[in-house]
């Protein structure tokens, strides 16, 4: 497992945007520690490596694999299983691998609708109405592109996961800290957390790190931040009627968005032990509504025009229901 005296490191992107890789690079000079301490064997965005090279490796020979992206197609699934087999520690890295993230929102519709939308929207130049096919007979032979699954799944719905590191992307200082920890653990100077732990995060939720003042909340109307001009810079955003996901979202990002004046959108996912992130936000928002009459409550709720998008922007694929009904249908 150790070649050149160095443990092996891999990183892979499945259904993701690539932001997680940027975040890793964003740890600045710490990246040199990675190089100094690890032998990078597989990292498609940074180096050329073939799947067959990985297939050839001994099982469990990679010490640490950071796996980002959800499982949307058969290639994603194959690589997830392959890397699971070859890795000692498999980390679901970033929101996509942990709970599906924005690509998971595609679980609200069927694959067909998804493809149709992708290749046929106003902004798509596709005059000949070409849609992709999974197989194609080219002169050079039959070509294959990966097949899509009916819905996107987070990594742990496909393979066993050792650690979770949420965030869209994970904060660079958290990545650096985790890498530090692993390096220390290699040298026997620290102990790794128990399997299944969420790492690179705080114990609480975003409010814990948010400097804004908070009071007892009684909301008469939910508004979008652009409709409040200007929002009080020092007061809890939720108290001002702006649906802020901070109360339910795992801490660890240092409340970046609320600090910058924008509501938390929840990329760090649920707090420790929470079964369904969306349910926590539903109950939080509903709890602070200051009304007793159904009509009045409905009027206030009209201020959250897209409740699913609001509460499941990052977590739909990892939620209890996992997907909308369309994706379950066939």
């Amino acid at each position: 497992m150790i070649t050149n005296g160095k443990p092996k490191f891999a990183m892979y992107w499945a259904a993701s945007c690539g932001g997680c890789e940027i975040a890793v690079l964003n740890i600045h000079e710490k990246i040199l520690d990675v190089d100094a301490n690890f032998d990078v064997v597989f990292w498609p965005v940074a180096m050329d490596a073939k799947y067959k090279d990985v297939e050839a490796m001994e099982d469990g020979s990679i010490l640490l694999t950071l796996f980002n992206g959800g499982i949307r197609n058969d290639e994603n699934e194959y690589l997830a299983k392959l890397l699971r087999q070859k890795s000692k520690i498999l980390v679901a890295f970033g929101s996509c691998a942990c709970e599906g993230c924005v690509p998971g929102l595609a679980n609200l519709c069927q694959v067909e609708e998804l493809l149709y939308t992708v290749f046929n929207t106003l902004t798509t130049e596709n005059p000949r109405q070409i849609y992709p096919r999974t197989t194609f007979n080219a002169p050079e032979g039959e070509l294959h592109i990966p097949k899509l699954a009916p819905m996107l799944r987070p990594l742990d719905q496909v393979v066993d996961v050792d650690y979770y590191m949420p965030g869209c992307p994970p904060e660079s200082h958290q990545i650096a800290a985790v890498i530090d920890l692993v390096i220390k653990a290699i040298h026997g100077e620290a102990e790794l957390p128990p399997k299944g732990a969420v790492i690179g995060v705080g114990d609480s939720t975003v409010c814990d790190e948010c400097p804004r003042a908070r009071n007892v909340k009684a909301i008469k109307a939910f508004k979008r931040i652009q409709d409040i001009a200007p929002a009080d810079a020092n007061l809890c955003l939720l108290e001002q009627g702006i649906p802020c996901n901070g109360p339910a979202t795992r801490s660890g990002c240092q409340a970046r968005c609320p600090q910058a004046g924008a509501p938390c959108i929840g990329c760090y996912g649920p707090a420790e032990g929470v079964m369904d992130y969306g349910a926590r936000l539903m109950t939080a928002f509903a709890s602070v509504i200051d009304a007793k009459e159904p009509e009045e409550i409905e009027r206030i709720l009209d201020g959250i025009p897209d409740p699913v998008g609001q509460i499941y922007r990052f977590g739909l694929a990892g939620s209890l229901l996992k997907a909308g009904r369309d994706a379950w249908k066939r």
Binding site: P194, K195, G196, D203, S204, T205, V206, C207, D208, R214, N215, V216, K217, A218, C236, L238, G246, P247, A248, S251, P270, A271, E272, G273, V274, M275, R280, L281, T283, A284, S287, V288
Partner: protein, 671 residues
């Protein structure tokens, strides 16, 4: 992932004679539980004729000891019936009582379903739910708190007076708070009481005096409770003692001030608006305490800055215009609310003309009219103050049993109306008509009274009065009040001209009952009466431990019932006091400080003020003594930092899975 310790669960299926066994295949249920739930830890499953019998209980106790059971599920009746029974049994065998779970297969299965196969299938799901849940149960300990032996009674009517005397006579201290200047309540305003026709004052005033002089009673009249905090055994109450402008130390109650006061005002309270009092007044001769009170709104000195006639003539110098409202804090262990009722506002039934026609009276006005101490010295006369009516119509159910106003029966109006009929007869010889929907005289000696009034010649017309009008249709109606009614016994519309109409108005919850309820943490029914813990078996306790209700605050009732409830509430309080400490259900919420982010979403959710925010640590805190265990904050916490004992997420989620038989499928898949 930490492996959960495998629990050892015993499942006990009760036949309840044939109550359950008649519709559910109990043997199959027990067998199935042992087989299909074995992987979850069910080590024994038995069925038995009557689990709640001592033999049934012993069976469980024996298994706990011998098989080392760590969890028990009893599939029997509702937990509201026998949860305590089986918990006690488990405790006897050394198992924490909260590790026992009842699966209700009688009330929820055998009694309500008709197909044996389907019922048995549902019973299996219910048991599977209970087994999954009980595994997640945690051992809990009852919380014991000491009981402060002092009692607060709010309301100095007959119910409050009775309760106060019972407790005080037993040797414990009572604070009796009354909003008006004197205790006595509505009963003090009445002339006679039905059905015996005792003089109300004659039987009430000795009790009032006893309250006033009792060493164990602190009487706080002209006072109101403004704040209540704490919980059973340890309430903290703030009482506002309104300024009387009379120095109670110096006042002898001689009444000179009232005599000399030049300002006369209509007495809307005690005289029900048909008599007068002075700006400084003692509401009635036998008032307790005997001290007068200065009505600031009407006192010439307070309005114009001069007069002070009372001060000039007061022989002891007891008038004190500088007196201010006083806040008094007391600590009590139990509270009895005997806040009474309001009368229905007869003006709301505009077709009966109260407020438009001078000679339409309400029942309370008539009480004052017929009272020898009232404004007419007991002479029953028309509003002009002199004419004796020759004919009187008494209308029952005004504002009661009427979908436009109150649906309920006000209980006392029939008897009260009969009493009025008798008094009118006796004192004026007038012709009396009683207009009733149904005659309700159901109590000891009540119907006999009805018979007596019938024999006296009162005319009874069965029908709901349509209107009272002064629009005459012929000569003999001229100058009279005409009562238009459908006489349902003869099936005819009738118009009956009378000189005087008495509206037997219904009883209503106090206008501020809702706020008072909120202050004391108890709820009101849809009609607005305070809700008792159980309508039949626990009529004076409330859902809030340590708060009891008595008299008309709980619902319309007559004097004997009010007295009985006052005494009953006192007995319940004495029972608590003598127990010295009280055990609180350990169903409580608590905050995991590490997880709490101080978002304060839960802060506004607790109506019992159990949740506070600790700004220094930026966390919320739940006071277990104040927490009532509803679990609303548990469900609300966005970070999952609040957990609740007895009904934890793990317990409920496990029960959901069990009820959906998901706990079996996993087993089958892996097996």
């Amino acid at each position: 992932m930490t492996e959960k310790k495998q629990e050892r669960v015993g499942v006990y299926v009760c036949h309840c004679g044939t109550n359950i066994a008649g519709m559910v295949d109990v043997e199959e249920l027990a067998k199935w539980s042992a087989e299909k739930l074995g992987h979850q830890g069910v080590v024994i499953a038995r069925d038995y004729k009557f689990m709640c019998s001592s033999l049934g209980q012993e069976l469980i106790e024996k298994d706990i000891r011998e098989l080392g059971l760590t969890r028990v599920v009893v599939a029997a009746c509702s937990p509201h019936l026998h949860e305590k029974t089986f918990r006690t049994a488990a405790q006897k065998a050394g198992l924490n009582p909260y590790l026992v779970e009842l699966a209700s297969i009688r009330e929820q299965v055998s009694w309500v379903h008709t197909d044996r196969v389907v019922a048995t299938e549902k019973a299996k799901a219910v048991v599977a739910g209970a087994v999954s849940r009980v595994i997640e149960n945690e051992p809990l300990e009852e919380i014991k708190v000491p009981i402060n032996p002092n009692t607060l009674i709010v309301g100095g009517g007959i119910a409050g007076i009775q309760a106060a005397l019972e407790i005080a006579n037993a040797g414990f201290h009572v604070y009796l708070v009354e909003r008006e200047p004197s205790i006595g309540g509505h009963m003090a305003q009445f002339d006679k009481t039905f059905p015996t026709l005792d003089c109300a004052a004659c039987i009430l005033t000795p009790r009032m005096v006893e309250v006033g002089t009792h060493p164990n009673i602190t009487l706080l009249t002209w006072s109101e409770v403004v704040n209540v905090s704490g919980y059973v055994g340890n309430f903290n109450v703030t009482i506002k003692k309104k300024a009387r402008f009379i120095n109670e130390e110096l006042c002898t109650g001689c009444g000179v001030c009232e005599e000399k006061c030049p300002k006369k005002v209509i007495d809307e309270v005690f005289e029900a608006g048909i008599g007068y009092r002075k700006a400084v007044y003692i509401p009635f001769a036998q008032a307790v305490p005997k001290f007068p009170v200065i009505d600031k709104e009407n006192c010439t000195y307070f309005i114009k800055g001069t007069c002070k006639a009372c001060e000039k003539f007061c022989p002891t110098g007891a008038i004190d215009f500088k007196q201010e409202d006083q806040l008094i804090n007391i600590e009590v262990g139990n509270i009895i609310l005997a806040t009474g009722y309001d009368l229905f506002d007869a003006r709301r039934v505009s077709n009966y003309g109260y407020g438009r026609f001078p000679n339409v009276f309400t029942s309370l006005e008539f009480e004052r009219l017929s009272n020898a101490a009232g404004p007419t010295n007991g002479n029953i006369v028309l509003r002009d103050g002199k004419t004796v009516p020759k004919s009187v119509g008494i209308i029952h159910c005004v504002g009661s049993r009427d979908r436009n106003f109150n649906n309920y029966c006000s209980v006392i109006c029939c008897m009260q109306s009969l009493k009025f009929a008798h008094l009118v007869h006796e004192r004026t010889g007038a012709t009396v008509y009683n207009f009733y929907i149904d005659m309700r005289t159901a109590s000891k000696a009540y119907d006999e009274f009805y018979q007596r009034v019938l024999e006296e010649g009162t005319l009874f017309v069965r029908g709901k009065v349509a209107e009272v009008t002064d629009v005459a249709r012929d000569e003999h109606e001229k100058g009279k009040l005409i009562i238009q009614v459908e006489d349902t016994l003869i099936g005819k519309q009738r118009r009956i001209p009378v000189d005087m109409v008495i509206l037997s108005v219904g009883l209503q919850p106090r206008h501020d009952a809702k706020e008072v309820g909120r202050l004391f943490g108890i709820s009101c029914s849809t009609d607005g009466w305070f809700t008792e813990k159980h309508p039949k078996l626990d009529p004076v306790a409330t859902m809030t431990e340590g708060i009891f209700i008595a008299g008309c605050a709980q619902g319309p009732k007559d004097i004997p019932s009010s007295v009985a409830q006052g005494a009953a509430a006192a007995a319940r309080v004495l029972d608590k006091i003598l127990q010295k400490e009280v055990a609180l259900e350990p169903i409580k919420a608590s905050v995991d400080q590490k997880k709490c982010s101080g978002c304060r979403i839960c802060n506004g959710l607790c109506p019992f003020n159990a949740i506070s925010y600790i700004a220094d640590d930026n966390i919320s805190y739940i006071n277990p003594a104040l927490c009532q265990g509803c679990g609303t904050c548990v469900a609300a916490c966005p970070s999952g930092a609040i957990s609740g004992t007895g009904f934890s997420d793990a317990q409920i989620l496990a029960q959901i899975d069990g009820l959906l038989l998901r706990t079996l499928e996993v087993e089958q898949a892996t097996a």
